[in-house]
Symmetry: C2
Subunit: 293 residues, 2 copies
């Protein structure tokens, strides 16, 4: 039900492997130390969306981790091989593609790299229609930490996601669907697997605002794609700082991510906030225009 | 050169597997999300040291991650099997044992668990003799974060160790051997893979002091073992808070860990501090008394 392409020193453009068979050693540093990076992207009609933005972010995460990964051409070739294999098995349906690169078994040796493709998980988009209940969770870091402490890897998409997963479990136990991280100095940061996006109107001008990148969040590829088409469509663009109050008192808030796309938030810590299906549709249309380019 | 025992639903007490062959799926959540926990311990003469303390900490990490792992009896059986296999290959030398439990492929399914044994890596103990140069690195978290934000998993030994590894790389690039994390409010926390331990004399009484556990650090099994024998030997025991100044102005500072045991620090951010081979020997002897029990 899925497809796997391994990028190895012998097959730098990737070779098809069995995703149902074990492929990784128990000594891989990606496994025992979470010492790796990843990207998740969506492919529609056999075409990966925002591929270059994802490859750029993969390269930037690799640099932050001093990880030497195959260059973009190899990843592109492996993704193409994977998409062809996926299409043979599933037809032309949407695919969720995961790119992973770990430090491998030996820090001095080759990294372990693969492209994994699977159908988009069911239920992933239901919440997109009904709106998300979210809780605000303290991320523990100040919004200044990223700029003074590069070893914290803030802004890198590492496979060390245990805290992100724990935050989601905590949110679910509170009856919420998702979480939004807040810095120790009270800035809205990001979701565990998404970027925060706010729509507001100032002096009659419609604005899309996302938190400051330098506050230690991931550069959102979906948010980036949306911004690129929203501006020529008349939206003013803004970059935080945002506080929790900004989530409450504006025209709408969304969590943006590569597979779920734009999911509106309908409540924050139990407090209802405006949800506009029209705005979600309008922004999603702009986003899809961007991603189809 | 190593041994591997997998704990599976079919073989809850473990079955020997090939450590040189792939054993893990690329979809394991331990791999792609760092969603797992681990322990590392030393075995001497076929006997794992501080086994119960490590199993207790494994259980406590599992609880923090809502991870249902095999109980201690299964781990003990698997470790025994692994040690016998290791001895067949290596004789009765020291072994480094790693216990790992991940969330597995499906959060609703069984975890992925294994025991891996290898010879103690060469060079691991050289630094123990000459003393460590360390740099202080901001951990980004306040020493209060652990008590208010359980989703940060502070105090749990997860496989999401990318920050710990990045901190070590950063330290090495500065020409240092290791790092000591400091909280955003200026408390000494721990090393990326070790516990901080200070010896000092107050009013003629010798004290061993380690940072406060509730500041969000791992409970050190080595420090715990040492404390248990140091007290009857006349040492007074103390628990932080400690500041960077405490690293400078006392009788000695060590990084304690399960395999390297007690490694003295000889400089902090380039500033030399007292190193007493006699104290290291005395404390190591106390530690070994404890671990041999």
């Amino acid at each position: 039900m899925s497809a796997l392409v391994l990028l190895t020193p012998d097959a730098p453009d990737g070779r098809i492997a069995d995703p149902e068979a074990p492929q990784l050693l128990v000594t891989d540093l990606g496994v025992v130390r979470g010492d790796g990076i990843f990207e998740t992207l969506l492919a529609v009609g056999g075409r990966p969306l925002q591929l270059e933005a994802h490859l750029d972010r993969l390269a930037s995460s690799a640099e932050a981790l001093d990880l030497t990964l195959p260059d973009g051409a190899h990843w592109r070739a492996a993704i193409e091989t994977g998409l062809a294999e996926f299409a043979r098995r599933h037809g032309d349906g949407e695919a969720m593609i995961r790119l992973v690169g770990t430090r491998g078994v030996d820090a001095a040796g080759p990294p372990t790299c693969w492209v994994y493709l699977q159908p988009v998980p069911a239920g992933n988009r239901e919440l997109r229609d009904r709106g998300l209940d979210v809780v605000l969770l303290d991320r523990g870091y100040s919004s200044e930490a990223a700029s003074v402490a590069p070893w914290l890897l803030l802004g890198s998409k590492t496979t060390s996601y245990a805290v992100n997963m724990a935050a989601l479990r905590y949110a679910h136990r509170q009856g919420a669907d998702d979480a939004v991280f807040v810095s120790s100095d009270g800035r809205v940061l990001e979701g565990p697997t998404s970027t925060v996006l706010i729509a507001r109107t100032r002096d009659g001008v419609r604005e899309l605002v996302t938190p400051l990148l330098r506050s230690g969040i991931l550069a959102g590829t979906t948010q980036g794609a949306l911004f690129a088409t929203a501006e020529p469509a008349g939206w003013q663009l803004g970059y935080g700082p945002l506080t929790p109050e900004d989530l409450i008192g504006n025209d709408g808030v969304w969590l943006a991510s590569s597979v779920r796309l734009l999911a509106p938030i309908r409540s924050v810590d139990g407090r209802q906030i405006p949800v506009s299906a029209e705005l979600t549709d309008e922004l999603t249309e702009l986003l899809l225009t961007a991603t189809r380019r």
